[in-house]
Symmetry: C2
Subunit: 381 residues, 2 copies
Amino acid sequence: MESAVADPPRGLAGVAVTITRISEIDGARGELRYRGYAIESLAMRPFLEVVGLVIDGELPDDRSIKQVEGFLSTERAMTPAQAALLSVLPRDTHPMTMLEVALPLGDSAEQKRAPVNRSRADQRQVLLALAAKVPTLVAAWLRIRVGLSAIDPDPALPIHADFLRMLTGKRPMAEEVALLDATQILQMEHGLNASTFAARVVASTLAPMSMALSAAVAALFGPLHGGADEAAYKMALAIGDPDGVPAWVDATLARKEKIMGLGHREYRVVDPRAVVLRELAHRVAAAKGLLPVLRTLSRVDDYAAEHFAKEGKAIRANVEFYKGAVFASLGLPPDAFTALFVMARIYGWGAHILELWDDHALYRPSAIYRGEPLREIAQAT
Amino acid sequence: MESAVADPPRGLAGVAVTITRISEIDGARGELRYRGYAIESLAMRPFLEVVGLVIDGELPDDRSIKQVEGFLSTERAMTPAQAALLSVLPRDTHPMTMLEVALPLGDSAEQKRAPVNRSRADQRQVLLALAAKVPTLVAAWLRIRVGLSAIDPDPALPIHADFLRMLTGKRPMAEEVALLDATQILQMEHGLNASTFAARVVASTLAPMSMALSAAVAALFGPLHGGADEAAYKMALAIGDPDGVPAWVDATLARKEKIMGLGHREYRVVDPRAVVLRELAHRVAAAKGLLPVLRTLSRVDDYAAEHFAKEGKAIRANVEFYKGAVFASLGLPPDAFTALFVMARIYGWGAHILELWDDHALYRPSAIYRGEPLREIAQAT
């Protein structure tokens, strides 16, 4: 028997698999930093500034911001292959499946050549060109699948303003764009979650950027990773009026059921992103009439926190908890929330892939074999 | 400074990330076993028997083989979404990119629902239905991209016989089918390489089988993982006649260049798959006129081995070394060799995904942060 060998930690919990300079999570203190800057200080910065920071490591100067803006504008149109794909996809294709399938069609055969022969600047450009197309793809698919025509991008608009216009056909209000910018900054990067890890494992073989990003989308589609925003939003809809919250929370906890979007495996006291998002959503609600579910959600967050505090536990909403209400207020259907996650996290995934390629090693872990010992095929047959 | 924290092992080398019962590699002794059976004893068994063994853990009985055969026959036709995809893909799309994109279109929205709510038998069926379509997709794409029409599958034929027929339009010889069956058995499963690990990481989020398999294809496309078969085959073509081998090998090693397909990071004395494949290819060569490159390859293997032996090193061909010549003899173009790898390894990937789901845990490792310490955004701007 091989039971003398200790079991590996389940899910690699607590196992450091790499060194990174991109983000730092201090779960005990409820802190998240991108490249050393606290998330609270970044949430209201210009979106492109944070994109540049996450990818390149420093807050970009004006020239660098203009360059990123240039890529995200001129590269925003789908490739012909992506457009052709969307024209033939079955209409019940989930937006996440669409993105997994569309990403590898977003670059050229030349751009897929082994990254070892390409400069970081080249690969960064491939990343930005792929990322630029994601809002276009999501907006187009949400229209095409219900029988509407896709709306072409307008490179003169900032990327999120253009996304909302391509989605609804109308120019969005400035408050809506600001809310989307901030929400996307909050979910741009978060260390080695399963999707980022998947991107790194695939990229470690020197597979193309587009195909590694596609694999990350696949991982994010799993309900253990993405999707709590949708669940929390639907919960709020089901509860309805904020007055119904105490009875609903009491009954749910009495049944020992989990409330989706509360608590976080790393943040022990508070998820700093949830604090920013809640505050921001309430501020915008005044100007724009954010959905009433936001009041219901806040009430669940506060009421459940009081309940848990009596048991000596600090359990508050995580970033997923408020995100669904924000996206719904911007006109997005619940099954597109995770695709919005991709629109933001793609920059974090890309930063990790570029970091890996700066000093890469193939991921090739081992396994402990506990199956049948050597045996022989019985004669007969 | 955080330099007190030790660096993580590069690429998780030597880190056990899971327990497995599927295959066992004894690199020091040059042994590979699927479910306890030595690869040498499996190579000439019926292909479907080994598929059943790898997926289910035991050599299947006749009833079980019939059931697997049934799935691999009736599910062999592309889905309408896959057929539509191939009709619009740019013709320069690499067969591996095609497979990454086509796999998530190979199951239904219903089959993509979280695997936690499905039985192992259900998921196994999804796997077989996806795997059944891979030969059809590869054969169709190799024809469509050069302007020929795809040939419909014939469910009455065994899967590899049908693949060769869909590829060339002609019924293959029995020796060709036997050679392909054996080659595919040899590369069906090989522990936690990067593609299998990618499949596990994605599946650990409870993402659908089809999307986790797609991520594995992406990893296998990386030149550090797949592709040595193509390189070795092209080397043999470049060398030409076997008489040219000694001079070519001497010159290459004098330049300190690597010879593709020689040596293996795990097998220290010999890759047992290469031994079987070399012997098999030579046996078939007599009946079928296998490409002359096989003689050149054997000569490189033997001559280089003598050279390395003088330096006290045991370096022999790995399985990739002979595979390209085998595939070329079956009419496959070099850029399709890795797609043939997918046709076999998909059963190994699937077995790992099913094993993971039997007792799954989300992969969520950690990273060591060595970036900027907390800093503040300078005023101005």
